[in-house]
């Protein structure tokens, strides 16, 4: 046991889907277990944090860190695991870009706490009690991790060696990385993305692509798309054009538009901006001949009104890692 390299997996602000994705390796998980001493994973194993703290620095060969940084505890664990690991890998889009927890960056900390603890219709909190980092109770002082102002991707807190995107990462891609590390294969330069492509989901999508002109957007419940034609051309807001490939495009192949879970493609700093650039070029506000500038603007506005939530759609998985990182103070 002791001579096998150690593998750890930790969750910060995440949903547990990344752990499910690892379990989705199916029988390959036995190969993973044969190659590594998979000794720390709070979702699956009962190793204590004190065990990690007692390890010499750099003792863990690989740590898969999933989840974003939301609280002081998340950051503390990120720092601890960074110190103890030779390779720290941001695993899943929460860790690489903030993902769904990162959408909280559209609201302030105060707004979030107010909604969750005071304003929600199902809340019964007549004294208006809010969680505090430290509170005095009859039995002594209770401590809670500090809730940060913003959700941060892992790389904004510690140095990250590699990034594996996906919400969650596809099992075959996880296996590619595990197998490469286990075999001691040379890895790309630090800071690279592993287990994904460089291009966009369209590259892997088998739907027929023609000239794109969108005259109307539809929600997925409103139409049954043609099986072979690009969904975006049919008015479904497919994020495939602004999303990194590597997943194998399972969603568009199942008639569901890509929602962008692999984050921005290589070389793109801001997924939402890339989507705005792409969409802006293919909007078709209708016949504009002989119309005034105001009339044309009205037609364009009517077309855009059919998109329900711009930031929530274009930045669904990458708001925290985007250029502005969320809503800014004006």
């Amino acid at each position: 046991m002791a001579d096998k390299p150690k593998l750890a997996m930790y969750w910060a602000a995440s949903c547990g889907g990344c752990e499910i994705a690892v379990v989705n390796l199916h029988e390959k998980i036995l190969d993973l277990d044969a190659a590594f001493d998979f000794f720390f994973c709070p979702c699956l194993l009962d190793t204590k944090i004190s065990t990690i703290e007692a390890l010499p620095d750099q003792e863990i060969a690989v740590t898969f860190f999933n989840g974003a940084i939301r609280t002081a505890e998340n950051e503390e664990m990120a720092r601890l695991l960074r110190r103890k690991s030779r390779l720290l890998i941001a695993f899943g889009t929460c860790a690489t870009e903030g993902s769904i927890p990162g959408l909280a960056n559209l609201s302030t900390r105060e707004e979030l706490l107010r909604t969750v603890y005071l304003d929600n219709p199902t809340i019964d909190n007549p004294e208006g009690i809010l969680p505090l980092p430290s509170s005095e109770v009859a039995g002594g002082t209770l401590q809670l991790p500090v809730f940060y102002d913003r959700v941060l991707p892992l790389k904004q807190v510690v140095t990250v060696d590699y990034f594996i995107p996906g919400c969650p990462p596809e099992a075959h891609q996880i296996w590619n990385v595990v197998a490469a590390v286990a075999a001691g294969q040379p890895l790309p330069p630090p800071g690279s993305t592993l287990g994904a492509g460089q291009l966009s989901v369209c590259h892997e999508c088998s739907r027929r692509k023609g000239e794109k002109k969108i005259a109307r957007f539809y929600r997925t419940s409103e139409i049954t798309p043609e099986p072979d034609i690009c969904l975006l051309e049919q008015g479904l807001l497919c994020m495939g054009i602004a999303t990194r490939d590597g997943c194998g495009a399972p969603c568009p192949q199942a008639n569901m538009p890509c929602s962008g879970c692999y984050g921005p493609p290589a070389g793109v700093a801001d997924q939402g901006a890339a989507m705005i650039a792409a969409l802006g070029s293919i909007l078709d506000p209708g016949d504009c001949r002989g119309k005034s500038e105001a009339e044309i603007a009205g037609q364009l506005a009517a077309l855009l009104d059919t998109i329900p939530d711009y930031a929530g759609t274009f930045y669904k998985y990458s708001l925290a890692g985007s250029i502005l990182g969320g809503r800014v103070k004006s």
Binding site: A273, G280, L283, S330
Partner: protein
């Protein structure tokens, strides 16, 4: 006395505030329009930092976000008039992108007045100056709110 001093400090602070505007000007029309203002020696506020691009269609929304991130108070994108684009329809695309970008910017806490798109041709030096003046005035007013 202290109230007076405070009042004075406030005035100084207000006078010191100068909105910084990053302007993306297309090479063929708007940059020439700015040049026209220069050769005609029309005075205009020094708040604009001009970046010349080959076409307004080259202005990726990423550039605008980066400008705001680095502290710009306003971003101005100037293009040829519809039909005049050197590349046929780069300006039309830029206009559509801008409309969509404004909606996202609003959700990100950046008001519409901070990101303006307009058309300036090579002969419209005066219009160029008017647009900058309007934007500076608007940003100054907003700051006071």
């Amino acid at each position: 006395m202290t109230a007076l001093i405070r009042e004075k400090e406030k005035n100084v602070a207000q006078a010191a505030y100068q909105p910084r505007i990053v302007g993306f000007l297309c090479n063929w029309c708007s940059y020439a329009g700015a040049d026209k203002a220069g050769t005609a020696q029309i005075a205009y506020p020094a708040n604009l930092q001009i970046i010349r691009v080959m076409c307004s269609g080259r202005v990726e929304p990423q550039f605008v976000l980066q400008a705001f991130k680095q502290g710009a108070d306003g971003v101005l994108i100037l293009a040829c008039h519809p039909g005049d684009c050197h590349y046929k329809e780069g300006n039309l695309r830029a206009a559509q992108r801008h409309t969509l970008l404004l909606r996202v910017l609003e959700q990100l806490g950046i008001k519409r007045s901070r990101c303006r798109f307009d058309h300036v041709s090579a002969v419209e030096g005066e219009k160029f100056v008017r647009i900058i003046q309007e934007m500076v005035d608007e940003l100054n007013n907003k700051k006071g709110e």
